[in-house]
């Protein structure tokens, strides 16, 4: 533990003050393992987090998020605010000033035209840009000179930092991608696999879903960085093998997303060649409660729609009882070890918008039983299952196939049985469950079950789009091909009004207070969402790798320019 904290301290110190003796390319090769192999380095065409992560070694946004979730300038001089005049008083535009003298890795200068082009690229028709949400509400972009970018919004934007921030919205080189707009995007194989960037490394070879090799960018803005001359970014295998390659055999310096259970974590740690690093962001594993009736007795097209309120869960006491019966700490201990922590919040971080709601952390079986009694659900026939008006308290609980989720299901079922609720479990292939195919009855959007479990989070630190998912008009149903984000069909005019208020409120404190209120409305006040665990990022770092700082708000490789070899 002492060594660990010493190393962490050293790492933190390194991140803050660049080491004087470091020299570009002096530390040889660093080997990174992503068990989900990298498919493309262009985040705009990415098919998953892994691609965004890998791309962040090469492509950079204007500003990134540090380990505390604060915006920090990467390609710009400073973060624009209303106070420093960078954000217009009426909140309809934001002006970014590029650092002078920045070069692409091919030696040409980075200009405001490249920034504007990146927006055009992602919003071009037929391009299928995966990050289009980052540019929502952008009306136009002006480039009065080579170093100034003015982003104009269609309406006042209290949070104007969505475009061009974080690993999901990097700047592409206009000269390279000019011919790849719209439908041509997917045919630009060379560009997508070897983008020219401003980041610390540049691609030397790219093998799809296998390995990416990179070399230090000779034109990187800090002449002393990066310390590593080359990067090998390998893919393949699974989380356990990835952890083993860093912690037991020492073949790799860093392995991404080594989510394994607590027992395996202890076994790997005994290998002695590395340590696990974690950081907590906003990814919350939760049970969502269906507010509509999923009964198969209803006609297709009426099941799980707002036409039929849920016969059991319309009573808030039943929902509260289900939440109270769960021992969240036990779930985390079994499933995630130090990779997660119990939570009662839908928005668990950053601190300014996280509610202080901890009431659910203590399991209360007796309290839950009492609530059900009060709600009129009693075990009248003595079979251990509560009933009311001849109807049994029996529910279907679905989730995706995953070792941890099936453990969670079994444990939760045990507690719910204890309070007299009959539970039927169902697990669905993740490709189907998360696939969103409107023809399939098993997608999480269709929600043909009483309760379901999955994890979700939001990009960056602004929770507004996330909270807006629970608006009445975002309920999935047959009329919108089941594509809404309001999964539990929650609908409360007071909630809608509050979200509207959030969309016009400026100032971090005021917005944080509103998010807290919205969070509480969904969780402790109504128990429509039952948060279980705040799942952190969890990766393995070799003892021979220095300068690594875990980050839950941006790409995990966000500070690769500061990495060095521990000798």
């Amino acid at each position: 533990m002492k060594l660990k904290s010493a190393l962490l301290g050293a790492a933190a110190a390194f991140a803050l003050a660049p080491m004087a003796h470091a020299e570009r390319g002096s530390d040889g090769e660093v080997k990174i393992l992503y068990y989900q192999a990298v498919s493309t380095l262009n985040a705009y065409l990415s098919s998953g987090t892994k691609d965004v992560e890998a791309g962040s070694l090469v492509l950079e946004p204007l500003a990134g998020f540090d380990q505390d979730g604060n915006l920090y300038p990467r390609l710009v001089e400073s973060i624009p605010t209303v106070e420093n005049g960078g954000v217009a008083k009426d909140l309809t535009s934001i002006t970014w000033k590029l650092k002078p003298g920045l070069l692409w890795s091919d030696g040409t200068p980075l200009t405001s035209a490249d920034v504007k082009f990146s927006w055009e690229y992602c919003t071009a028709d037929g391009g299928g840009c995966a990050q289009a949400a980052k540019y929502e509400g952008v009306k136009s972009i002006d480039t009065p000179d080579d170093l100034t970018v003015v982003v104009n919004f269609e309406a006042p934007k209290p949070y104007p930092y969505q475009p061009f921030t974080g690993g999901t919205a990097p700047i592409l080189q206009k000269a390279q991608f000019e011919k790849c707009l719209g439908a041509a995007a997917s045919t630009c194989t060379e560009q997508n696999s070897k983008p020219i960037g401003t980041g610390p490394f540049m691609v030397t070879d790219f093998k799809v879903n296998d390995v990416v090799t990179l070399a230090a960018n000779p034109n990187y803005r800090d002449p002393a960085k990066p310390a590593f001359a080359t990067v090998t970014l390998k893919g393949g295998g699974d989380a356990l093998a990835a952890a083993s390659a860093v912690m037991e055999t020492g073949e790799f310096d860093y392995a991404w997303n080594t989510q394994i259970n607590a027992e395996q974590q202890a076994q790997m740690a005994a290998g002695g060649k590395g340590k696990f690093v974690n950081a907590f962001g906003t990814l919350v594993e939760r049970i969502e409660i269906n507010m509509t009736d999923p009964s198969s007795a209803l006609a297709e097209g009426e099941r799980s729609t707002i036409k039929h309120p849920h016969p059991i869960f319309s009573d808030p006491k039943v929902r509260a009882a289900l939440s109270m019966a769960i021992d969240r700490q036990a779930l985390v201990d079994v499933g995630y070890g130090s990779a997660a922590r119990p939570t009662c919040n839908l928005v668990p971080a950053p601190a300014f918008q996280a509610s202080d709601n901890t009431g659910c952390l203590k399991q209360d079986i007796e309290g839950a039983k009492k609530l059900l009694d009060e709600a009129g659900w009693t075990d009248s026939d003595g079979d251990g299952i509560r009933d009311k008006d001849g109807k049994k308290l029996s529910i279907l609980y679905q989730t995706s196939v995953s070792a941890v989720r099936q453990d969670f299901q079994a444990l939760v079922k045990g507690w719910w049985n204890e309070i007299g609720v009959e539970v039927e479990l169902k697990s669905i292939d993740p490709g189907v469950y998360f696939g969103g195919d409107a023809a399939s009855p098993d997608t999480f959007q269709k929600f043909y079950a009483d309760v379901e479990m999955y994890a979700n989070n939001f990009d960056g630190t602004d929770a507004e789009p996330y909270m807006a998912q629970y608006l009445c008009n975002k309920i999935p149903g047959p009329d919108n091909q089941w594509q809404g984000e309001n999964i539990n069909r929650f609908c409360d005019p007071a909630y809608d009004a509050l979200v509207k208020e959030l969309s016009t409120t400026n100032g971090i404190e005021a917005r944080g207070a509103l998010v807290k209120k919205l969070n509480d409305m969904l969780t402790k006040d109504s128990n429509v969402v039952i948060p279980l665990a705040d799942r952190g990022r969890f990766s393995a770092q070799s003892n021979a790798l220095g300068g690594f700082v875990m980050n839950a708000w941006d790409a995990e490789l966000w500070n690769a320019q500061d990495w060095y070899r521990v000798k």
């Binding site: 393992l33 989900q36 192999a37 498919s39 493309t40 065409l45 990415s46 098919s47 998953g48 987090t49 037929g126 391009g127 299928g128 840009c129 995966a130 990050q131 289009a132 949400a133 439908a183 995007a185 997917s186 045919t187 630009c188 194989t189 997508n192 696999s193 070879d205 093998k207 799809v208 879903n209 296998d210 390995v211 090799t213 090998t232 390998k234 893919g235 393949g236 295998g237 093998a241 083993s244 390659a245 037991e248 055999t249 073949e251 790799f252 292939d429 490709g431 189907v432 469950y433 998360f434 696939g435 969103g436 195919d437 979700n456 989070n457 939001f458 990009d459 594509q483 809404g484 984000e485």
Partner: protein, 335 residues
Amino acid sequence: MLTYTLRRLLTAIPTLLLISLVIFLLVDLAPGSPLSEIPLTVPPEVREKMMKALGADQPVMVRYVLWLKQFFWVEPQYLIDGWFGTDFAQGAQRIISWQSKVPAFQIIGERLPQTLTVVGTAYLVGILIALPIGIYSAYRQYSWFDQAGTFFAMAGFSVPTFFTGNVLIMIFAVKLGWFPTIYDTQLRVTDWASFYKMIMQMALPVTVLALFNAAEISRYTRSSVLENLNQDYVRTARAKGMGERTVLLKHVLRNSLIPVVTVIALGMPTVFGGAIVTENIFKINGIGAALIGAIHVSDLPLIQTITFIFAVLIVLFNLIADILYGILDPRIRYD
């Protein structure tokens, strides 16, 4: 023989077309979506646009015909262009993987070398182990060697590679640290040091696969040799006073190998197809790993292309096996 071959080739065309349609429909009807790996933070409107950009919203028959055109018309043009530097294709739309936006044939080209090296070597080593074991087991039927060989074949055939593979990794890579656990596809053999590294990283996967292949082939060899040992011509040879060595290796072996050669030829497509399980365990990232990865993310164009190439290879090697049989055994002629 020639007309027979031609006839077989011609009948293969409708068979392959039917196979391609069946594969396409199977993959398309299977549940799952190419967007299932996309984080939930991406809103539904954006997802819809992404599906559109992939062309996944088109009706299944339109996509099938497009794929046929790309596979049989566009891709060969690119192949010719690649060989002779011509420009027949003129930038026509290739078969592009939904997941990586890279042409499917480029992915196959990147994956084939490691699959051929590892699985091919394992097949070769497997044959080299299997033949002597099979022959000697038959010659000394029910001896301790035969019993041991039978045990070895049973064990090799019935213990799955995911088990032997993980056990070998656990013992020789993790505990003893002799071999690497992750296959380096970047490694080029240029000198003795890199050759040694190549041998080291191939050792475990080749062992696992060779064991599995050897088990099967040694059983075929054994039964084939056994059958021949009781033939009249063997008795004649012995009666004429030939040495056991000549009888076994010259007369019996030649005749016994005819069915074995066809079995080996029929197994060849698996060399190109890769070993899905073993490749994943040793992170070889060959064709098998590409296929299973594509299946996980419902990358239809890539699955379709790889499985169809498998189908072509299987049909092709069946034909080769038949022709070989005719060449090796003059009693069999197809005309």
